[in-house]
């Protein structure tokens, strides 16, 4: 992959130029967390390109929390999605797009709303610089710095960024502003690589208690009947916060309501932790117990989804840990399931 260097000042110029055509979204710090916000090119100073993933995942840009998908018997236009430039997405979130793509863009039926939105995002990702205690990408073999799936990637170094190009879109951005990029100077690539090596070590260190011999997939597979789930799910209040904040939880509800012209059909984010998620009209509910729903969510991520698509439906972003009001840590949950199965065998 081609490596270039851009100074902080030239990067701002590049953003100003790109922003003439398309809106920019970037992480900004608010209290303890980072949030994606629409930023103007004259207020780029306080955006946070390093650090960790923002609270919202890329899902928010591609499958909005609610979207009208049918109006009476006609289709709302899906071909007029505006191009958006998203700055500062992290490796875990780029990885999540593989999962969303496999659901929404592949298979016998394709989701035109997703596909159009996906086509119209420009991803200028960046390396994490300060992993959080909740980060566990390395446990799932996801790199803490982007390796693929971006248009351009930025690795912060002294005075600017090392820029990597991964896609044709990225290439044309660089070609359109050649004068802003230069060949890296001696030591700059080494500086980036050293940062990355430190980063990997730090995330590994954070997760030293969870670096099991077996993969999460191996531990969770066939764990449906594990008595550990009751204990693990005990503090859960089925708020479905983990569902909504998860970059790969992708379930939705089709909700019809009265619209301006006849009915309107809305696609709303939904969560498998909610009591009625799987309930049928006559009242039968295959997952009426909270522990069943809790187990099902992790089984979906580490057993059912891999079985269908060959991918874990988890990228180790740790948002579910941050959001949980019951303070449930997915890694601890996996650990308990593992301990139980070891003690039973």
């Amino acid at each position: 992959m081609e490596n270039l260097f851009i100074t902080q000042t030239d990067f701002s110029s590049l953003m100003r130029k790109l922003n003439e055509k398309s809106p920019l979204y970037a992480p900004r710090r608010k209290g303890d967390f980072l949030f994606y916000e629409r930023v103007r090119s004259d207020s780029l100073d306080d955006i946070a390109l390093g650090e960790i993933r923002p609270i919202q995942s890329l899902k928010s840009f591609l499958i909005p929390p609610q979207e009208t998908v049918s109006q009476y018997f006609a289709s709302p236009s899906f071909s007029n999605k505006e191009e958006k430039i998203i700055l500062g997405a992290k490796s875990c979130d780029l990885e999540s797009l593989k999962i969303l793509d496999s659901v929404y863009s592949d298979g016998d039926f394709k989701d035109p709303f997703y596909i159009e939105a996906r086509k119209n995002i420009i991803l200028i990702s960046s390396d994490c610089t300060v992993p959080a205690k909740t980060c566990f990408c390395v446990l799932l073999n996801v790199s803490p710095y982007p390796k693929e799936g971006f248009d351009l990637n930025l690795s912060p170094i002294k005075g600017g960024f090392i820029v990597e190009i991964w896609s044709d879109k990225g290439k044309s951005i660089v070609e359109g502003s050649k004068e802003l990029f230069r060949e890296p100077e001696e030591g700059q690539i080494e500086e980036r690589d050293k940062n990355r090596a430190n980063l990997v070590n730090r995330v590994k260190e954070i997760n030293r208690d969870f670096d099991f011999e077996e993969s999460f997939r191996e531990i969770i597979k066939d764990s449906l009947d594990s008595p550990a789930w009751e204990e693990v799910a005990e503090p859960c209040v089925d708020c479905a916060g983990c569902n909504h904040i998860c970059p790969t939880c992708r379930c939705f509800l089709l909700f019809d309501k009265k619209g301006k012209k006849g009915f309107e059909r809305i696609r709303l984010w939904d969560g498998c932790l909610y009591t009625g998620f799987a309930r049928v009209a006559a009242g039968a509910n295959p997952r009426s117990k909270l522990s069943q729903r809790f187990a099902n969510r992790l089984l979906c991520k580490f057993d059912f989804f891999p079985e269908n698509m060959g991918l874990d439906a988890c990228t180790g972003c740790g948002r579910c840990i941050s959001v949980c009001i019951g303070k449930i840590d997915m890694r601890e949950a996996v650990k308990k399931v593992r301990t139980k199965s070891l003690s039973d065998s």
């Binding site: 049918s70 379930c251 509800l253 019809d256 059909r265 498998c272 089984l299 269908n308």
Partner: protein
């Protein structure tokens, strides 16, 4: 690109009351919608929502689709209040059809309970269409009372005349009334002495559709009798919403019922603990 969430405007042509809580709707979509026996559709009641149904008409009937609906929830209650001329929406077909080529030269046992007869009627018509391909059909059906029998005239008389040599019937009700002269007992009783009708249980295929509890006991009995796991075809009616394998509501283990079903052979789902819930 097509929008998979957008229903086709559909006119209700005719409504027939089958039982106190079941009606059959004859639907005429503005654009033709061709399904195969076993596949399902989503019906929209404008402004209210959708519910999944397996059509009960012959898949060879191209212009119209019949759907037989029991009043159970919000959407089905609203459907029951609609009359001919009313407008609904339809999407589909979705899911996998019955693999009829696997049924060829075989003895086919059909077991239906209550409104579970609806999809079986569609299958029945598909079998009748090419009846010479199949060795024999034994159609077993149970309803709560005589007045709960769906397609009563067909089930009790008309179908018996179609091909008396190859197609036989065993009909029962849980509770008879003063006019009922047929058998009384749960639908599982129709499976007694099955060898009088089915020569080779080992080779025979069984298609079961009905309330979960009925499917459970019928399946247990079929296994006892000697049916093979992979010869028992079960209709899994889960909470299908999008119909296209995306929304996740009908997920059952590694399967999405809308995409991988709704019909499964027992061997595929037997180890999943909540299939009957």
């Amino acid at each position: 690109m097509e929008n998979p969430y957008q229903p086709i405007k559909t006119k209700i042509q005719e409504v027939t009351r089958e039982t106190p809580n079941i009606k059959t709707f004859v639907l005429e979509p503005e654009e033709p919608l061709h399904f195969k026996a076993g596949q399902f559709i989503q019906l929209t009641v404008p402004e209210l929502g959708e519910a999944p149904f397996t059509p009960s008409s012959s898949p060879y009937e191209k212009e119209k689709i019949k759907v037989t609906i029991m009043e159970t929830g919000t959407v089905t209650s609203a459907l029951h209040s609609l009359t001919p001329g009313g407008v609904v929406g339809i999407r589909g077909p979705y899911g996998k059809e019955y693999s009829l080529s696997d049924f060829e030269d075989k003895e086919i046992l059909i077991v239906g309970g209550g409104v579970g007869l609806a999809p079986l009627r569609s299958l029945f018509f598909a079998l009748v269409h090419d009846i010479e391909k199949y060795k024999r059909v034994l159609f077993c059906y149970g309803a709560k009372t005589p007045s709960d029998i769906v397609y009563k005239n067909a089930v009790l008389q008309d179908w018996h005349k179609i091909n008396p040599e190859r197609i036989h019937f065993r009909i029962t009700v849980d509770e008879g009334d003063e006019n009922w002269k047929g058998k009384v007992g749960l639908v599982t009783y129709t499976l007694d002495n099955l060898n009088e009708e089915i020569e080779s249980i080992e080779e025979s295929v069984a298609v079961v559709c009905g309330p979960p509890i009925m499917m459970k006991f019928v399946t247990m009995k079929l296994l006892d009798i000697g049916y093979k796991w992979n010869n028992i075809f079960l209709s899994m009616e889960k909470n299908m919403s999008c119909g296209i394998g995306k929304c996740g509501h009908c997920q059952m283990g590694k399967f999405l019922v809308c995409r991988d079903g709704p019909v499964f052979t027992y061997d595929k789902i037997k180890d999943f603990p909540t299939i009957w819930d």
